[in-house]
């Protein structure tokens, strides 16, 4: 069993009806020896790598499309990052941006599992120099 620490972010999609409190209770009910910290976006789970992976598998089984997860470098409640101790919180703007896109990704996952076809996005073409020249030389 790997004793190496793993801290994981569990983020609930904004379209989901699950609350962070419900998620924390579900994880506590699994009876594993891990630390769970409720947050505004979901929760942080910290423990040995194997236990955290087991929890991730169980959460995915229960909520296959609504909960997203990634590892976190700093331990939960680390004074260098923790809001309670006025730590700097770099990366939260990114988490917020990705949180907003989660309902679309959730829907994308459901469609991919059903085998639905998707339309490939159009490739971006280089803006022609001629057009750019016209815009520059245009008189008001």
């Amino acid at each position: 069993m790997s004793e190496e620490r793993e801290t994981r972010i569990f983020m609930i999609s904004p379209e989901s009806m699950i609350t962070p409190d419900q998620l924390v209770r579900t994880i506590h009910a699994m009876g594993k020896e891990v630390t769970v910290k409720e947050t505004c976006y979901g929760c942080l789970v910290e423990g040995s790598r194997d236990l955290v992976k087991d929890i991730l598998a169980e959460v995915r089984k229960k909520h296959p499309y609504e909960i997203f997860s990634k590892v976190r470098a700093y331990p939960a409640g680390d004074p260098r990052r923790c809001r309670a101790q006025h730590g700097t919180r770099p990366g939260y703007a990114q988490l917020e941006a990705e949180w907003q896109a989660l309902p679309w990704v959730q829907n994308g996952l459901m469609c991919a599992d059903k085998g639905e076809k998707y339309k490939l996005p159009e490739e971006k073409k280089q803006f022609s120099a001629e057009k750019f020249k016209k815009i520059c030389e245009a008189k008001e």
């Binding site: 801290t7 994308g108 996952l109 639905e116």
Partner: protein, 144 residues
């Protein structure tokens, strides 16, 4: 297989790579290694001398130190990777915070290594997300 993700700390990419049965190579793991094993005050903001030397392998001395610092973390991961997924134009990669020069360098390093890679758009609506997830799923299933 080990899959390098760009942006290297993206939640969406990390989750998708794991879901489809591969190991994502992310900056979080590299930073955790420094937190647990190296006594550096606040990684990745603070570096060791070794990191600076590692960064020089990927970018010359005339390149801004921020680029070299980032590449000292990401460069070894690109070397370790068996495949790569690049997400184009994520909103948080814009401006000085995102460091476009480092991102360009990452794309170049992936291309130079010649590993299988895919570029997908950052989802800005439901249709785009459907295409992004579908493309990533097909790519990752093809790696097995």
């Amino acid at each position: 297989m080990k899959v390098f993700i760009d942006p290297p700390n993206s939640l969406i990419l990390f989750d998708l790579v794991e879901r489809f049965g591969h190991e994502p190579l992310s900056s979080m793991a590299a930073i955790q290694n420094k937190i647990d094993n190296v006594e550096v005050d606040m990684p990745p903001m603070n570096l060791t001398l070794e990191d600076v030397i590692k960064g020089l392998k990927y970018a010359g001395v005339e390149v801004p130190s921020g680029v070299r610092g980032r590449l000292s973390l990401w460069g070894p991961m690109i070397e370790e990777a068996d495949a790569a997924i690049i997400m184009l134009d994520p909103p948080f990669n814009f401006g000085c915070v995102g460091c476009e020069r480092s991102n360009e360098m990452v794309k170049y390093l992936i291309k130079r290594r010649g590993i299988p890679s895919i570029s997908v758009n950052y989802p800005n609506n439901e249709e785009e997300a459907k295409a992004t997830v579908g493309q990533i799923k097909e790519f990752l299933e093809g790696l097995k």
